[in-house]
């Protein structure tokens, strides 16, 4: 990454579907506490009333992990988890907003919605990582990240439990990096102190 001109990282967006929780639970424990930016995680999940993903996340990370509520302010060193059955959007006011509009790719939350919104608000300082999954959600979102000048990361499809989503992404979007689960935490930790060569 030394030969690219990076701006400071504004936000890291992670999207995943089938097979992505395993990857998240592998990378979360190794994340540094002082990253200096927020992480927003959108995973497809059942709209079940007894969903305890927030507490499971808390157990896997040193960072503060919260499930998103309406108009929550976006703070550094915090992992924001998309709640079941809501789309997650970012506001210019540096707040998170929820939206209960139509499903996209049969999904709510939809990864595309959050990636696109992140691209609009954070532009070139947005970093998006698309993980394992069984549909095409997230691919359009990565295109928005790319055209806004942000950084596109895709899980190496060969390492994905369900490779449809990352493979489709690698076909449709030129990734900045295709990375394996074992490299992800290290990569995100490096984003914390990358140097602007401008």
């Amino acid at each position: 990454m030394e030969n690219r001109n990076f701006k400071d990282t504004g936000v890291v967006l992670i999207g995943g579907s089938a097979g992505s929780l395993k990857v998240l639970f592998e990378l979360l424990p190794d994340l540094d506490e002082d990253l200096g930016f927020p992480i927003i995680v959108v995973v497809h999940r059942k709209a079940a009333p007894d969903s305890h993903l927030e507490s499971v996340f808390k157990k896997h990370t040193k960072l503060n992990a919260v499930e998103i509520e309406d108009k929550m302010p976006l703070k550094a060193n915090t992992i924001y988890l998309a709640p079941a059955d809501y789309h997650v959007l970012l506001e210019t006011t540096n707040e998170l907003a929820l939206d209960y509009s139509e499903k996209l790719h049969y999904s709510r939350p939809s990864i595309d919605v959050t990636f696109q919104s992140g691209a609009e608000i954070f532009g070139s300082s947005a970093v998006a990582l698309l993980l394992s999954g069984a549909n095409h959600d997230g691919v359009q979102g990565l295109k928005h990240i790319k055209s806004a000048g942000g950084t596109v990361l895709i899980q190496d499809p060969d390492t994905a439990e369900v490779d449809l989503m990352p493979r489709e992404a690698t076909i449709q979007v030129i990734a900045d990096y295709i990375i394996k689960p074992t490299e992800m935490a290290k990569f995100i930790n490096k984003l914390a102190n990358r140097i602007d060569h401008n």
């Binding site: 009333p49 309406d70 709640p83 959007l89 907003a97 929820l98 509009s101 696109q116």
Partner: protein, 273 residues
């Protein structure tokens, strides 16, 4: 149309213009969601530039009606978050039962799925005949759908499951007639319902209630507007009345925080002062 075409300041001035000309005020709606909706209607209606959209809106009052309907989110379900409804059934309705006459306001009812959910619960608690439900929305066309009580059969299986989890006493299907791919709810379920347009942004309080249900409406409002609506609810709620919000909404950071007490884990508060 590329979303980049929708510049925030242009949208702001368009919504300012619509508010002045038509009285529909979206200026304090959350921007991110609103922008998505505007982009969506431009795609659907093949409007290729912001200027085209603006021209149509300013010169075609009939189009305005469609615009309002499409940029507001009218997605709703029966017994969404069944545990919420279970709490209503078990904690709130027994308290409401102590009143000789029960008034409930469902604000932002969209196509009415929540209205029928509540009407059924009131029937099962033997409270329906002395209750009156005010079901309001800013869109006349969705209210018309709510009033008709005709819904697609597609979601009924899911609704039935949620109804049972919520503590439903019968079969949900005993409340409707199915005909091919549509169902129609028993007319009795709307006998005690008043469907009426009401805009939370601009209209005043119109009655006093013991229960106000407004779920997943405030998420589309900026904080300033949320505070205004909380005050409207407060002035429309009797002492010891209940306010029920969506599962990710909260009265936190509002004036109501001091005078309302949360009951249980669901987003239901009681006006204690």
């Amino acid at each position: 149309m590329d979303t980049a075409v929708l510049r925030e300041h242009e949208l702001d001035s368009l919504f300012q213009e619509i508010a002045e000309k038509y009285g529909y005020d979206f200026t304090l709606y959350s921007k991110a969601s609103l922008k998505r909706r505007v982009h969506r209607i431009c795609l659907m209606d093949k409007l290729y530039s912001f200027a085209e959209l603006r021209y149509r809106l300013i010169h075609d009052p009939e189009y305005l009606q469609r615009f309002v309907e499409e940029i507001t989110v009218n997605v709703t379900e029966m017994y969404r978050d069944p545990i919420f409804y279970k709490t209503l059934r078990e904690e709130v309705l027994p308290q409401l039962a102590t009143y000789p006459f029960i008034r409930i306001w469902i604000a932002g009812c969209a196509t009415g799925e929540e209205v029928y959910s509540v009407a059924i619960m009131l029937q099962e608690a033997n409270l329906y005949d002395r209750s009156l439900i005010y079901a309001t929305d800013l869109n006349p066309s969705v209210l018309e759908k709510a009033r008709n009580g005709v819904f697609s059969i597609r979601h009924m299986k899911q609704y039935s499951e949620n109804y049972i989890i919520s503590g439903g006493k019968k079969e949900l299907s005993s409340y409707y007639m199915a005909n091919y791919d549509l169902i129609k709810f028993d007319d009795k379920l709307k006998e005690r319902v008043v469907f009426s347009t009401h805009n939370l942004v601009s209209d005043a309080s119109f009655n006093e209630f013991q229960l106000i249900i407004c779920r997943n409406v405030l998420i589309y409002f900026e904080r300033e507007l949320q505070h205004k609506v909380f005050n409207l609810f407060d002035s429309s709620l009797e002492k010891l009345g209940y306010l029920a919000l969506g599962s990710k909404e909260s009265i936190r950071f509002s004036n109501l925080e001091q005078t309302y007490k949360k009951i249980g884990v669901e987003k239901i508060w009681r006006k204690v002062q």
